[in-house]
Symmetry: C2
C-alpha cells in the first residue's frame, strides 16, 4: 500500500491550474503553485482570492474556516527547483505547447526527487507524446480536469503503456481524495471521454443548423425533451465558448472545416462567442 499523495505542486496558474491548486489545498493537500515570474504570480494571487470567494458562494463545505485554511496551505513560487523538491505529485497545467511542456518536464525530471509522480493536464496532447521528456515515463500520466473543478468534478486519468499501474492507482486515489470523480481511461484516447462524446455531438448539431435543416433553438428543444437533458447542444456551445469548438473543427476534415467556417462567419466574426461575450446562439444579460 503506497502512501497517499499529500504534497502537490501545480505548474501554471492559469484558469485551470489555479483551480486545481485551490481544490487540492481546499481538500487538505499542501500545495505549491508555480509560475514563471513574480508578475504572473501576482495575477495568480488574485485568482486564488477570487476562487476563495467563489467557493464561499458555491461550495457547501467552504465554511467554518475551511476556505481560509485552504489559502494557508497554498504557497506561490517562481523557483521551480524549490517548487518540486519534495512533491509527491507535480501536475502540469502550462500552455498547450508541446515543446514548452517537454522542456518543463525535462527540468522537473532532473529537479524532482525519485518519488515524484508527474502528471499533465493537457487536453490536446497524449501523454505518450510527452512521457520521454520526464526521464521517468513509469511515473508519468495524464490527469485531466474540467473548468470549474469544484462543480464539474471529473478527473480523467490516462496513462501510457509505460505508466506503472501502482502509480496510476495512487493518482486515482488522489483524485478521489481531492473530491474528484476519477474517470479511468484504460488506453490513450485523444479527447479523453468527455470530448470524445462532445465533439461528435456538437458536430452533429452544427450540421443540422449549418445545413439549414433546423434552427439551433429547435435542435436544443428536441434534445432537451428527447433525453431529459437540461441543455441542448447549442446551449453547450455557448457555455464552452465558440472558439474552442471552432479551433477543433478548423483542424478537422473538409466537412468539419465547413462547419468551422459557418461558426466563424455567422457567430465568431460578429462577436457572438457565447455566454462570456453576452451572446452566442442565444442572448445573455
Amino acid at each position: 500500500m503506497s502512501a497517499a499523495i499529500t504534497k502537490v505542486t501545480v505548474l501554471g496558474t492559469g484558469v485551470l491550474g489555479s483551480q486545481i491548486a485551490y481544490q487540492s489545498a481546499f481538500k487538505g493537500c499542501t500545495v505549491t503553485a508555480y509560475d514563471i515570474n513574480d508578475d504572473v504570480l501576482a495575477t495568480a494571487r488574485k485568482r486564488f482570492a477570487t476562487l476563495s470567494e467563489t467557493y464561499a458562494r458555491e461550495v457547501p463545505d467552504a465554511k467554518d474556516g475551511a476556505n481560509e485554511a485552504a489559502l494557508t496551505r497554498l504557497t506561490l513560487t517562481s523557483d521551480l527547483a524549490a517548487a518540486v523538491s519534495d512533491a509527491d505529485l507535480v501536475i502540469e497545467a502550462i500552455p498547450e505547447v508541446a515543446d514548452l511542456k517537454r522542456q518543463t518536464f525535462q527540468k522537473v525530471g532532473e529537479l524532482a526527487p525519485a518519488k515524484t509522480i508527474i502528471a499533465t493536464n493537457s487536453s490536446t496532447l497524449l501523454p505518450s507524446e510527452l512521457k520521454d521528456s520526464t526521464g521517468r515515463p513509469d511515473r508519468f500520466l495524464a490527469l485531466h480536469f474540467a473548468n470549474r473543478v469544484w462543480q464539474l468534478n471529473t478527473a480523467e486519468i490516462m496513462g501510457t503503456p509505460d505508466t506503472d499501474p501502482a502509480v496510476y492507482s495512487r493518482v486515482v486515489e488522489f483524485a478521489k481524495a481531492i473530491g474528484m470523480v476519477p474517470i479511468e481511461l484504460h488506453k490513450e484516447k485523444a479527447g479523453y471521454v468527455l470530448n470524445s462524446l462532445l465533439v461528435p455531438f456538437l458536430h452533429a448539431a452544427a450540421e443540422l443548423a449549418a445545413g439549414g435543416y433546423a434552427d439551433p433553438a429547435d435542435v436544443d428543444t428536441t434534445w432537451r425533451i428527447g433525453t431529459g437533458a437540461p441543455l441542448g447542444p447549442f446551449q453547450i456551445y455557448d457555455i464552452i465558448g465558440l472558439n474552442t469548438p471552432y479551433n477543433i473543427m478548423a483542424h478537422g476534415d473538409a466537412e468539419s472545416q465547413q462547419l468551422a467556417a459557418w461558426l466563424k462567419t455567422n457567430y465568431i466574426d460578429k462577436g457572438k462567442l457565447g455566454v462570456e461575450s453576452g451572446e452566442g446562439f442565444y442572448k445573455y444579460t
Copy 2:
C-alpha cells in the same frame, strides 16, 4: 387562414399509432384509428385501455372526465374508405416497409377527399421517397412522433419541396393543438433532428467502450457530470433498447458494423437488450 385540423385518422394501431390516436383524441380531436382486421383492432382496444390507465397515472390533465372523454372521441375501424372519408389529416403509422406504405398511400389518395392532408410517421424513410404514391404531394409531409408522446412530446415536421407551405403550417398548428412541441425541419434529413444527434452520440460512446478505452458506467458518469444531463449514453441505449441502435449500426460503414458486432456479441446475444429485458449495460429490477 385555414381551418384547424380536428378530424384525424391514424393508420396503424401499433405502439406509436395508438399513442398518436389517443393523444389526438385526448386533446379534443375526433379520431378514427384504422387497422387491417378485427383481430388487430381487438388488440388496439386493449392498447387504448392501457393508454387510458397510463394517462390517468402520468398525465396531470387526465382527470375530471378528460380521460374518459378521449375514449368517446375514438372510433376503430378496418374499413379504410370509411376511415378516411372525411379526414382533415391522415397520419400513417404502419410498419416501416416502403412498398406497403406506398400501396396504402395510393389507396388513401384515391379514397380521401381533396381536403385531406396525408402525413407519414416514418422514422427511416424520407417523405420524398413516398410522396408520389399519395397522388397529392402538395398535401403530404412527415410528422414524426417519439415513443411516449404524452411525455416526449416532440413532433418533428418535415416536408418535401412539393409540400404546400400552407399545409405545412396547418400541421404545425395541429401539432401544437394536440400538445406537441413542433420541431420544424426546413429540409429533408434522414433521422430528423433527434436521431441526427443521437446516432453519432451513441456511436461515439460505443467507440469508447468497444475500443476498451473506458467502461460504460464511467462514460455515463463523465457525461452526466460534464453536461448536467440526467442520463449518460449507455443509460439511453438501455432505454431505447439495444436492438434499434444495433440495426442502425449494422447498416452503416465498416466502423459502425464493428460496433454493431460488439453490441451483438457482448449484449444482445446474451439477452441484454436494455431496460425492457431487465438488463442491458445496467441491471434493472
